[in-house]
Subunit: 329 residues, 2 copies
Amino acid sequence: MRTHRHPGCSFSLSKAGENCYKFCMKVVFLGTGGTIPTEKRKHPTLAIIREGESFLFDCGEGAQTQIFKARLGIAPIRAILVSHLHGDHVLGIPGLLMTMTQGNRSHPLSIIGPTGVSKWIRHIREDLAFHASFEIDVKEVGPERALVSSEYVIHTFPLEHGIPTMGYRFQEAERPGRFLVEEAMRLGVPKGPLWGRLQSGHTVRLEGGEDVHPRQVLGPTRPGLKIVYAVDSRPCEETVEAAVEADLLIHDGMFLSEDVDKARARGHSTAAEAAEVAQRAKAKRLVLTHLSPRYRGEENRFIKQACKIFSQTIVAEDLMEIELSHREV
Amino acid sequence: MRTHRHPGCSFSLSKAGENCYKFCMKVVFLGTGGTIPTEKRKHPTLAIIREGESFLFDCGEGAQTQIFKARLGIAPIRAILVSHLHGDHVLGIPGLLMTMTQGNRSHPLSIIGPTGVSKWIRHIREDLAFHASFEIDVKEVGPERALVSSEYVIHTFPLEHGIPTMGYRFQEAERPGRFLVEEAMRLGVPKGPLWGRLQSGHTVRLEGGEDVHPRQVLGPTRPGLKIVYAVDSRPCEETVEAAVEADLLIHDGMFLSEDVDKARARGHSTAAEAAEVAQRAKAKRLVLTHLSPRYRGEENRFIKQACKIFSQTIVAEDLMEIELSHREV
């Protein structure tokens, strides 16, 4: 695998579609532009991939083409999570739903977003004579748990963008501690099925009649990964709070510092403002996205302005992937 | 300019974006696929360009990106003419309107389509908090004159596609006959402004007091160009009638003959059926478009099946241009 390393960045990057080594979660930047698509940056769309499921955060026009280019497939998409109802963030949804139907999808899809998302989806169905081949579960949420499974929770939190806008925090559940082989052998647990039962949290009884509890043979629990998506927004306290010690913060970085007035007026952030959020939250890494089409080839200036405040910053580009591995304790 | 000539085809083709010689009308195939976009064929979108104005016929998802690739610009777009309200034909409209607004467009835009197009545009404005910087004149039309100027008329006609669907006939007005220089000189009209007035249809008075009428110095009127767009549809009488002696017929050619059952069931045409329409209408040339994504690299089979019936057939490809010159009589 070819990896790209940006200056000051300690995590591995690869171009979508390349063969990748084993990872725990993968983030694919399908569209990293803002407002107007350019040759280099399509409308905002992000995929998080975990254990064979994928989750889209926003879904701009042309998202299905970008998904195709990244060779992600559309069947694994479990949910589309919408930050807000501006066209550049949602206009890829209808075409994607239609393509899913052309492929005879039968398993349900969740669409999650702020108030108004139900009406938008209903109008697509009614106005364009669209009959989905699968159940579309549309949920309008406030600051709460948007999607929950035994392995992760996706929370929302409010952003500042002039209209109702939500950030998302993807939090994996804690994982059990490492299995302590030597300890198990010392306690006389024979290698085999009993090890598996202990690893999955069950007490087992040995032939001699003694019980062995999981806590005796497992190390300390290990944290799950945390990824935070805060686009479009001014820098705000809610993002700092959501991103505390996040493995990855993906933040609106639409403008350079000299255009901070535009960022303020339009409900966006500068690279430096995003870096300050990451620095205050003690996030591990920051990715700037939603770059304004006014800048061409000025990515280094974004990096420079952000890295003065938070060194672990990179600028997203279309089809860039970031692979995240679990931390050990 | 590099030109491409397809077998059995007598008109010049060029790839969009290349420098072109003088033409009277140009047709640019921005998207030539059907239902699902592929790497090679995007959703249906066609541009007709005439005297600095352009007209989009359908506007699928990603149309603005294709317009950018073809270097056409969005400011000259005078009207978007919608065949029917299936997603693949209209999902590029909202993003295009938003990009026009980002560019501070101030001149009006017409959107023309069947019943329901007004509601669809209204829902985009309301659901996505979209405030256009320019007037959008939405008109729902039946079989009638959709757009009229002194130089051309765009008529609609009904197609057969299961839901209300319209074809479009772009008909230039007749042009005045050639100016007969020798005749003008014989009548004593001095070279200069009087020639111009006669050419533009005005009677002039000579110094000696005699009147000279335009009919005395102009040859027979010359036909304007006629282009017919019939997508999506089964072959039908209305298209034959609209396309009589058309310079260019652009027709749904979604399937090969072996899949005629699918064409019938889904309201589309085979290559051979489209060729039969062109042959019956005595059209000059036929372009097949809206090819099903099921076929990859089988364009020659489309050509072969169509050319058995109508030899002047080619298969559209994304970003292909056709330049049309006026015929002389």
